[in-house]
Amino acid sequence: MKLRGAAIVIETLIAHGVTDVFGYPGGAVLELYNELYSRSDRLRHILSCHEQGASHAADGYARATGRPGVVIATSGPGATNLVTGIATAYLDSSPLIAITGNVSSNLIGKDSFQEVDIAGITMPVTKHNYIVKRAEDIEDTLCEAFQIACSGRPGPVLVDITKDAQIAEVEFYGGSPKALFAVPETDLDAFEKASKLIDESEKPYIYCGGGVISSGAGKLLADFAERIDAPVGFSMMGLSAMDCDNPRKLGMTGMHGTYPAIKMNEEADLIIAVGVRFSDRATGDKDEYRKNTKIVHIDIDDAEINKNISCDVDIVGNISESLSALCKVVKKSSHAEWNALAENYKREAEAKFTGGFNPRSIIRAVQKFTGKNTIVATDVGQHQMWVAQYYRFSNPRTFLTSGGLGTMGFGMGAAIGASSANGAARTVLFTGDGSFHMNLNEFATAVRYKLPIVVIVMNNNVLGMVRQWQTLFYEKRYSQTVLDRVTDYVKLAEAFGGTGYKAANLEELQNALDGAFKSGGPVIIDCAIDRDEMVLPMIPAGGSYADAIYN
């Protein structure tokens, strides 16, 4: 069958099972949108307010579903508006396919209207990217783009297609997906070596990251923890890999980790790290982190081994397969005293909390309205860390947050992506007043598509996280972190066609949530909190676990 290049793009997306795409039209993608028009019954397009919002939405869709998210933008400014979203997906290994139009091939390199070298710009933040100048190459390239985005360690791929390639008519072969690339075979000796360390360890600690979620290995990880009787700490990206009712779960580790996770991590004689990359935010001072412990590192990406932290044994390969193989060779053991220590730390941490209208009580109040399947997105700042610390996650892919890039503005887009994949189920966004102002235009998108998103603004009227550093390390010189904005979030929600509430205490919040969780469309709840609330514990940048500030 002969089709125009633009039609081949859309048909190939449909052949890959894509049901929703996010994007924004423009001159260089007129052809794509024209072909989409006649296929809108088979492919839903969600029109954002800004390409950045669309890119985060596609990323959020991918994180929530495990299937690649697709974003479309025009050349020039449309394409550059995607860059933050692509980089966000790259740092968190999310399978994003970005499709951009470009000027016709005869105009390339002439500084033509709305021409940018988006492939050049995104080279450092994509797994791979393409410039396609011939219609004949579109089908294979797009199939390969999916293959690359989803194989091994997932990541974003950009496909830039010139306008003339979208117009030309060529043969279409069906666009069926190609098999994913094989993962390299795991070195079998590694299992022996790892199991020896694990069997000998008296204080084993499992450190679980986002790779466990990508690999669908949450259940295997819980079985493994059970077998070797070890507590489990998490990177922020890994938090939703394990049920919150599992007593082994210690919560997040690292700079703003929970007290039990930090302490157990610090005292372990063996860290079994699964699907993590030992980011500086997670380890603090690397020499100290490494000092009194052995490390087994399990990951799919060979380049992560010894990149940030050197390890004693590495197991490179598919994480699910590695964990089930390891489970078979390790001895069943018991570390009662070691686990009792974890319980002690948990009790100590619990005893510190006070009542009142504070970040923790707000998060716990929201959690009364949600279920284990509810998807929770955040923006970036103190509110994000509070959610990571206090929201009790249970199911993989329910926590969408920008970990590696720390992108303020991610949340609203991500919530839209998750919600559009999630039908009538409510999606919750915890955002900060600073972050929300970055992409709040997308609230209009949520209204337009009747997406039931409950936006909780943790409103401290400051750039709280930056201000916290100024409090602790810059003698309270609050340079440009006090917002003093007078935005009325209730009116804002209403102006966009949604619903807004204000909550200054738990009772008001309860009432607002009652309304919000009944509403069919998006809702904003403005929760006023104290600007001096801090995220604790905190390991100062570059410091070690022993330097953690607890009070």
């Binding site: 050049g120 080279m123 410039i131 060979d302 380049a303 010894n306 990149k307 050197s310």
Partner: protein
């Protein structure tokens, strides 16, 4: 952490932009390029060969090789 010189032979697919991918990796991750040669692979028009000398400690060298192997258009990386 002793700094050593080493030479890499990198076989890449002959596609537009592949050299900038390789060079871009070095600038992005702060690795050194001391000398660089790019030419056709004998009797194989689909691939090119890059010969590069670089320097760094053992860990850096291992990282360079692994990161190069992750580039989609890189077919082979050898220490020579």
């Amino acid at each position: 952490m002793e700094i050593k010189n080493f030479t890499l032979s990198i076989i890449v697919t002959n596609k537009a932009g592949v050299l900038s991918r390789v060079i871009g990796l070095f600038s992005k991750r702060g690795y050194n390029i001391d000398t660089l040669y790019v030419g056709p692979k004998v009797e194989d028009s689909r691939h090119s060969r890059i010969i590069m000398t670089s320097s760094g400690d053992d860990a850096t060298r291992e990282q360079i090789i692994k990161q190069l192997r992750k580039i989609f258009d890189v077919q082979e990386v050898k220490l020579i």
